[in-house]
C-alpha cells in the first residue's frame, strides 16, 4: 500500500511532535497497566506479568503547523478522542482544541493527524478522509512505539494520500513521503539537554568540554557517513557493486559544493568576527587583571594599615 510519494512536497518535522506523540502513548499505556505497588511479593509479580500482555490501544491526535508553498512544517500536535465504534475521531473535540490552540499559536493550521502503531491500516483511511474537509491534503504521521534496539532509523513515517487507479477504480491510498528534522536553536539545546543530561553550570572547563564533546560527536557522525559513502564508491570502482549513475551524480554534486563559501566577503566577515571575539577576550583579561591588581593593592594597604591611619601615603619598610 505504501510506495513513495510523488507530490513533491517537502516535509519538515520538529522533535517536539515526536516527543509529544511518545508522551501520549506512554500515558495511555501506563494508565492501562497500572504499575505494581512498591511492596511486591512473588505472587503479584506473576499476575502483573499477565496483565502487561494487554496491547495498549492506539493513540490518536492531530498535528498542526505551517504550510508555505511546497514546504510543510509540522510544529506541534495535540491529542484527539477516538471512537472505536464508528472508527472516526471526535469532531467537536477537534474543533474545540483547534480553537484553543489558535489563540496561542495563531499561525498554525491543522495539517493532518497522527497515530501509533506498526503500519498504516485500512481503517486509517476513514479517518483520513474525514479530515479531508479540514485540510484538503492531510498528512498522516505514524509512530511505531515498539522499542527495537537494532533499529537505526527513527520509527516515524509520514504518509500522504494519493489517488491511484487500482483495478480500474480510482482509490485513495497511502504513500510514504520522506521528511527532514527541522529545529530551532532553543529546541535543539533542550533536546540535547534531556537526551544527554549535560552538566549545568560548573566551571568554564566543564562547559568547554561539554561544547567540544557535542561538536566532536557531530563530526564523528559526519565522518562515519562519509566513510560509508567512500566504501561504497570504492566498491563500485572495483566492480564489486553495480554502477549506479544516479548515486554517482549525487556524490559528484556534493563534492562540487565544497568549499562551501569562498567569497571575499565571507572571509572579511569571518575575520571581523574572529577579531571581535579576540577583542572581547582581551577586554575580559584586562578586567580580570585590574581586579586582581585592585585586590593586591587593598591587601597591601590593609597589611600596612597602621601607617595609613595618619592619612596620606607613607614610606613602607
Amino acid at each position: 500500500m505504501a510506495s513513495s510519494s510523488s507530490s513533491g512536497l517537502t516535509f519538515k518535522l520538529h522533535p517536539l511532535v515526536i516527543v509529544n506523540i511518545s508522551d501520549h502513548y506512554t500515558r495511555v499505556k501506563s494508565q492501562m497497566n497500572p504499575p505494581p505497588p512498591t511492596s511486591v511479593t512473588s505472587n503479584s509479580n506473576n499476575s502483573n506479568g499477565g496483565e502487561n500482555n494487554q496491547s495498549p490501544p492506539r493513540a490518536y491526535g492531530c498535528v498542526i503547523g505551517v504550510q508555505r508553498g511546497r514546504t510543510v512544517e509540522i510544529f506541534n500536535s495535540f491529542e484527539l478522542l477516538y471512537d472505536p465504534s464508528t472508527h472516526s475521531l471526535d469532531r467537536s473535540f477537534l474543533e474545540k482544541k483547534q480553537e484553543l490552540y489558535k489563540k496561542v499559536f495563531p499561525n498554525f493550521y491543522v495539517l493532518g493527524w497522527y497515530s501509533t502503531g506498526n503500519d498504516a491500516e485500512e481503517s486509517d483511511m476513514h479517518i483520513h478522509k474525514a479530515l479531508m474537509d479540514v485540510n484538503e491534503s492531510p498528512v498522516y504521521v505514524l509512530l511505531n512505539p515498539a522499542i527495537n534496539h537494532a533499529q537505526k532509523d527513527l520509527p516515524v513515517t509520514i504518509y500522504e494520500s494519493e489517488l491511484h487507479v487500482i483495478d480500474g477504480i480510482p482509490q485513495l491510498i497511502f504513500v510514504r513521503s520522506s521528511y527532514t528534522i527541522e529545529t530551532v536553536e532553543a529546541e535543539r539545546i533542550s533536546v540535547d539537554h534531556v537526551a544527554h543530561l549535560k552538566p549545568s553550570g560548573g566551571s568554564a572547563a566543564t562547559q568547554l568540554a561539554a561544547q567540544l564533546t557535542g561538536i566532536h560527536s557531530a563530526i564523528k557522525m559526519l565522518n562515519s557517513r562519509i566513510r560509508v559513502l567512500h566504501q561504497y564508491l570504492v566498491g563500485m570502482q572495483k566492480g564489486d557493486l553495480p554502477c549506479e549513475n544516479a548515486l554517482l551524480r549525487q556524490v559528484s554534486s556534493l563534492l562540487r559544493r565544497l568549499p562551501a563559501t569562498e567569497s571575499e566577503k565571507f572571509q572579511d566577515d569571518f575575520l571581523t568576527e574572529y577579531n571581535d571575539t579576540l577583542l572581547v577576550t582581551y577586554l575580559a583579561t584586562f578586567t580580570n587583571c585590574s581586579s586582581t591588581m585592585n585586590d593586591l593593592v587593598d591587601k597591601f594597604n590593609t597589611a600596612y594599615d597602621r601607617h595609613s591611619r595618619r592619612g596620606g601615603r607613607t614610606a613602607f619598610i
Binding site: Q31, P35, K96, K152, A204, L255, T261
Partner: protein
C-alpha cells in the same frame, strides 16, 4: 588510560549519576494515581513547613514545550501553566501549555479570557486522557536571568495561598541559546513574614543593572528548588534515534549569529557596572577603611566573572565557526590533487 581517568574525574566533579537506561518499569511515573493524589491534597503536609517541597522533576516534553514557547516570544515575556502531580517532597511536572497573554511589567495576573482558556484546556485535556491538575506556572525572562521579580513574588505568594501546591518556573530563552544550555529556575515563595533559617547561597548569575534593584529587594523572599529531568523509555529510545538525524543541526548551529543583540547589551551593561564600581572605589578611598572595602571588591570580582562568562560564550561560538570553516572551506586545496575524497577531519 588517561582518557578513562579524565572522564571519571569529570563525572565526579559534576555529580553525574550513571544514567541507567530507563526500563519500562520506570515509566510508572507517568501513571496518575487519582486516589493517592486526592489523599495528598487533603493532608496538606506543606501547610506547616514553608520549605516542604525541595525537588522538582520536569518531564522531557514539558521542558521542550516551555523552552520553545519562551523562545518564540522573542524579547517579550510569555507565560503558561504546568500540569503534574506531587510525590512526597517533589513536585513532578508532566506537561505544560501556553497561555494567550502578553507579558508586560505591569500585568499582575492572567486576564479573564486566560482563565477561560485555562478552564477549557483543562477540561479537554481530562477528556483526552491527561488527568493531571495544574501544579504551577512558568514565564520567561528573556535576557535577564532566572529569578522572581517583585510582581512575580506577589503573584506566587497569592497562588501559594489559594492554589497549593503551586510552583513558579522561570526560563531565560536568550541565555539558553547563548550559553548552549538550558537556563531555568524553579521557585517557591516563603509566606509573609517568614524568615528563612539559613542564608543559603544560590548559584550566581548576572543581572542587568536596571533589574538589579528588583532582584536584590526580593531575593530573600523565595527559595530555589533542585531541578531534575526525566523521560520515558520510549522517549529516550526516540531521542537516541533522533541523534542520527540531528547531528546535522548541531554542526550547523551558529550561536553567534542569533544573539548579537544580546551580547552587545551584555557588554554595554557591563560597562555601566564598571563605571559604578569605579565611582564607589574612588569614594571609598576618602571614606573609612574596613568593611566597606569588601563590597566594592566583590563588585569588581562580580564584574570580572560576568566578563569571563561573556567571553567564554563568544569563544565557544567562534570555535564552532572556525571548525566549520576548516571542515568545509579548506577542502578546496586538497581536491585539486586528483585524489579520492580524503579525510580532512581529525581522527577520534
Amino acid at each position: 588510560m588517561d582518557s578513562a581517568v579524565a572522564q571519571k574525574t569529570w563525572e565526579l566533579e559534576n555529580n553525574i549519576l550513571a544514567a541507567e537506561a530507563p526500563d519500562p518499569s520506570s515509566d510508572s511515573i507517568f501513571h496518575y494515581d487519582e486516589v493517592a493524589q486526592a489523599k495528598f491534597l487533603k493532608d496538606k503536609p506543606w501547610a506547616n513547613d514553608p520549605h516542604f517541597f525541595k525537588r522538582v522533576k520536569i518531564s522531557a516534553l514539558a521542558l521542550l514545550k516551555m523552552v520553545v514557547h519562551a523562545r518564540s516570544g522573542g524579547t517579550i515575556e510569555v507565560m503558561g501553566l504546568m500540569q503534574g502531580k506531587t510525590d512526597g517532597d517533589a513536585i513532578i511536572v508532566m506537561d505544560a501549555f501556553a497561555l494567550p497573554v502578553e507579558g508586560t511589567e505591569t500585568r499582575v495576573n492572567a486576564q479573564a479570557d486566560a482563565y477561560e482558556y485555562m478552564v477549557d484546556y483543562s477540561q479537554t485535556n481530562k477528556q483526552a486522557g491527561r488527568l493531571e491538575n495544574v501544579v504551577g506556572w512558568y514565564h520567561s525572562h528573556p535576557g535577564y536571568g532566572c529569578w522572581l521579580s517583585g510582581i512575580d513574588v506577589s503573584t506566587q505568594m497569592l497562588n501559594q495561598q489559594f492554589q497549593e501546591p503551586f510552583l513558579a518556573v522561570v526560563i531565560d530563552p536568550t541565555r539558553t541559546v547563548s550559553a548552549g544550555k538550558v537556563d531555568i529556575g524553579a521557585f517557591r515563595t516563603y509566606p509573609e513574614g517568614y524568615k528563612p533559617p539559613d542564608d543559603h547561597t544560590s548559584e550566581y548569575q548576572t543581572i542587568p543593572l536596571n533589574k538589579i534593584e528588583d532582584f536584590g529587594v526580593h531575593c530573600k523572599q523565595y527559595y530555589a528548588l533542585n531541578i531534575t529531568y526525566f523521560k520515558s523509555s520510549l522517549d529516550s529510545h526516540l531521542l537516541d534515534l533522533l541523534w542520527n538525524k540531528y547531528w546535522v543541526n548541531t554542526l550547523s548551529s551558529s550561536p553567534l549569529l542569533g544573539n548579537g543583540d544580546y551580547v552587545a547589551g551584555q557588554i554595554s551593561d557591563l560597562a555601566e557596572k564598571l563605571e559604578q564600581a569605579e565611582n564607589q572605589l574612588i569614594h571609598s578611598r576618602i571614606g573609612p577603611l574596613g568593611t566597606s572595602r569588601k563590597k566594592e571588591e566583590s563588585q569588581l570580582a562580580k564584574i570580572t566573572r560576568d566578563s569571563s562568562k561573556i567571553t567564554v560564550e563568544q569563544v565557544h561560538g567562534l570555535m564552532s565557526q572556525v571548525l566549520k570553516n576548516i571542515l568545509f572551506n579548506s577542502v578546496g586545496q586538497q581536491n585539486r590533487n586528483e585524489q579520492p575524497v580524503s579525510d580532512p577531519m581529525i581522527e577520534a
